[in-house]
């Protein structure tokens, strides 16, 4: 078999069946970007409603739905997939691999996420979205009428399965597929954070899976896990959710730390300061992330001993995080700094994230938390760490890796406009919310009376949201302009330090003609300093083994999507829903059977063709 037959099929078919990590990365990025826009639209609607006292733009249950979907969409359908997009696009290149360990599972993970997200958002058109908050606390979620929360449960279950697969895939990839010489302590920091994040996914997502199953059984099959009248306990949901939910926020932020570490080092033309301390801090944050979940529940009444333990554990996380902040600053110190858009976002990240971290430590003080809890202070805090941390990091990564992913350079002038409008808009939106919280404005309420005096700060906050919207639109314009008439760039436009910049542009689909030999941290930089134009190869040019494309992941995901519909409507529709469940699961199982039954050994690219192709790229 050769790769010739793949070229005959249409472009669309190629994207639907691809198992190439670079293409799956782009799929993740585009669909995550789409959901980011949807979640952003919901955010703007929320800000319009809260702009003035006693607005009637978006009230009651509809507000609850928009609020719930904003949180759920942003966390699960925007942030997670964009992170996976970068992990797919960058990690195999950074470790000198030709693909991930399980290309088929990689594709399956994407399609499960995609159909889970679509399922969740279809609720808008089918009788109403979930309305119990992104945390779906029982008994609010168990007693919510309509099918909204059922969409939440099934949509997240399917998307979550995809995420779990992705996490396992990257763990195996990073452990098994590093190029010769790429020891653990020579891995670029983004790969390290991807590794730790994948570990957190492996340990945290099963808690969500179980929680969602319990909630599903409670809602669809009338179980009583969280119903106190029947001997259940509503607090168990809070525990299970946050046992997942707290590691989840580290799952989100660690890859951003990785991106910042790459960008700051590259644009300071210096090796990352304190590399081993950075690695240690990453692992420590990941470990401590599992020990702090009850700080979301200080006001539940766990008692002073439990609250104190979790308060101290939470504050402990500030130490490794502080190590990271100082290391970034020291990396820049004495460096030859270039303020490209990517670096602007990274440098903007540092003080912004510190502010989010400081309010985090404030919230960790259990007695004080009784005052902050469920107020806009909390809203301000987590937007500072998620938007001011993660999203700035993701923008930074986009501008940094765009040439690698698409072979084109995003416009720097538009990029700077993007940064300043988004950055100023962000602080304008969320800084006043600290004070709104301290003045007593509760989160999740759809309005406030005029005499509370919350109007002016809320108005400023909404103006900030407009700025952020403008920033995002500038980014979209930038993408369109870049693809319409952007100039092609070389494989190493930033004078990079790590292996992903050692590849010509556009990236060949086998990544490396010869697996590179890694001689230290910042592998490419070492070769540059030694006066070498290319990486030293670890093998002669030979046949390359590549996986075959497959449409099974797509159909398998469609099967579970149909079954998801069946489960959602099972309690009200009965027989037709049961048919959907059987058909959907049947499709899923049939695809699994086919995957196991058909031997698929992939194909080989032959040495002669590769050499011809390689010359074509160089010329």
């Amino acid at each position: 078999m050769s790769n010739a037959h793949a070229a005959n099929k249409s472009v669309l078919w190629d994207w639907l069946t691809t198992v190439d990590h670079k293409k799956i990365g782009i799929l993740y990025l585009v669909s995550g970007g789409f959901f980011f826009l949807v979640g952003g639209l919901e955010a703007v609607l929320i800000r319009i409603q809260l702009m003035n006292p006693e607005m009637t733009f978006l009230t009651g249950n509809l507000y609850n739905q928009v609020l719930t979907m904003h949180g759920t969409t942003m966390i699960f359908l925007a942030a997670m997939p964009i992170i996976f997009g970068f992990m797919n696009a960058v990690v195999p290149l950074q470790i000198g691999a030709r693909d991930v360990a399980f290309p088929f599972v990689n594709s399956l993970g994407f399609w499960l996420f995609f159909f889970g997200g679509i399922l969740l958002n279809l609720s808008w058109f089918l009788g109403g979205a979930p309305d119990a908050g992104w945390t779906a606390y029982a008994p609010l979620s168990t007693t919510s009428t309509g099918h909204g929360v059922d969409f939440y449960v099934l949509g997240l279950q399917i998307a979550g399965a995809g995420t779990l697969m992705g996490g396992i895939n990257f763990l195996v990839t990073i452990i098994n597929m590093r190029a010769p010489g790429m020891t653990f302590m020579r891995m670029p920091l983004f790969t390290w954070t991807a590794f730790v994040t994948s570990g957190l996914i492996l340990f945290a997502f099963p808690a969500l899976t179980i929680g969602l199953f319990l909630l599903m059984f409670e809602r669809v099959f009338e179980a009583n896990f969280f119903d106190a009248n029947m001997g259940g306990n509503a607090i168990i949901w809070e525990h299970i959710f946050w046992i997942f939910g707290h590691p989840e926020v580290y799952i989100l932020i660690l890859p951003a730390f990785g991106i910042i570490s790459e960008v700051v080092a590259t644009f300071s033309r210096k090796r990352l300061f304190g590399y081993s301390a950075m690695v240690f801090a990453t692992v420590l944050i990941g470990f401590l992330g599992f020990m702090v979940w009850a700080h979301h529940m200080f006001t539940v009444g766990l008692g002073p001993v439990a609250n104190s333990i979790f308060a101290v554990a939470t504050m402990a996380i500030a130490i490794p995080t502080g190590v990271k902040i100082f290391n970034w600053v020291f990396t820049m110190w004495g460096g030859k700094i270039r303020f490209t858009t990517a670096n602007l976002f990274s440098v903007g990240f540092i003080p912004t994230f510190v502010m989010g971290g400081v309010t985090g430590v404030m919230l960790a003080v259990a007695p004080a938390d009784y005052q902050y809890h469920d107020s806009y202070f909390v809203v301000a805090h987590f937007h500072y760490v998620i938007v001011g941390g993660l999203i700035l990091g993701l923008f930074s990564g986009l501008y940094y890796w765009y040439p690698r992913m698409f072979g084109l350079m995003l416009n720097e002038a538009l990029g700077k406009w993007n940064f300043w409008t988004f950055f100023i808009g962000f602080h304008l939106t969320f800084f006043p919310q600290h004070f709104l919280g301290l003045m007593g404005m509760p989160r999740r309420y759809f309005t406030y009376p005029e005499e509370f005096g919350l109007g002016s700060l809320n108005f400023i906050s909404t103006i900030g949201a407009v700025f952020m919207t403008v920033g995002t639109i500038i980014f979209i314009i930038n993408v369109v302009v870049t693809h319409a008439k952007g100039k092609k760039v070389s494989g190493d436009p930033w004078d990079g330090r790590t292996l992903e910049w050692a590849i010509p542009n556009p990236t060949p689909h086998y990544n490396f003609l010869q697996t590179p030999l890694v001689r230290g941290l910042d592998a490419l930089w070492i070769e540059k300093m030694a006066g070498n134009k290319k990486m030293t190869p670890a093998e002669p040019v030979g046949d390359i083994h590549m996986p075959n494309n497959s449409v099974l992941p797509l159909f398998m995901s469609i099967g579970f999507f149909i079954a998801g519909f069946g489960f959602i409507y099972y309690s009200s529709a009965g027989a037709p829903a049961l048919i959907a469940i059987i058909v959907g699961l049947g499709i899923g199982l049939a695809c699994m059977f086919l995957r196991s039954w058909i031997d698929d050994h992939g194909h080989h690219l032959h040495k002669e063709d590769l050499l011809k192709e390689d010359k074509g790229v160089d010329a």
């Binding site: 360990a101 399980f102 290309p103 088929f104 599972v105 763990l171 452990i175 570990g199 492996l202 340990f203 808690a207 306990n233 607090i235 168990i236 525990h239 046992i243 599992f290 020990m291 009850a294 766990l302 439990a306 083994h545 996986p547 075959n548 698929d600 050994h601 992939g602």
Partner: protein, 110 residues
């Protein structure tokens, strides 16, 4: 998930020693397969019958589950073989986190 394996690369030079080892392993597999089914039946019987009290039965099936995990990991997933240090690390850290989490959770709720 053998998509990355090249065809015909595995069984080229199976010497006599390897054959004997394979035979041994096959026997282990068969024995553990039968044992696992038996253990499942015993566990089911322990719950279905009223011969032993519920609290004893719960402890009993937890022990049986432990044995099943051992069979699964060591016989079927070859955890004892060389090159499984990473999975061991993963399992150990997973157990640690699960233990702390479940322990704390139980302590907090009851």
């Amino acid at each position: 998930m053998a998509s990355n394996e090249q065809p015909n690369s595995v069984h080229h030079h199976s010497s006599l020693q390897k054959k004997i080892k394979l035979k041994q392993e096959r026997r282990q597999h068969n024995v553990s397969f039968v044992m696992m089914i038996l253990l499942t039946i015993v566990a089911f019987a322990a719950i279905a019958s009223d011969a032993i009290s519920n609290s004893v039965a719960v402890l009993f099936i937890i022990v049986l589950a432990g044995v099943q995990v051992f069979f699964q990991l060591y016989i079927w997933m070859h955890l004892g073989h060389k090159g499984h240090e990473f999975p061991m690390w993963g399992i150990a850290s997973g157990l640690l986190i699960a233990l702390i989490t479940v322990g704390t959770l139980v302590g907090l709720i009851w």
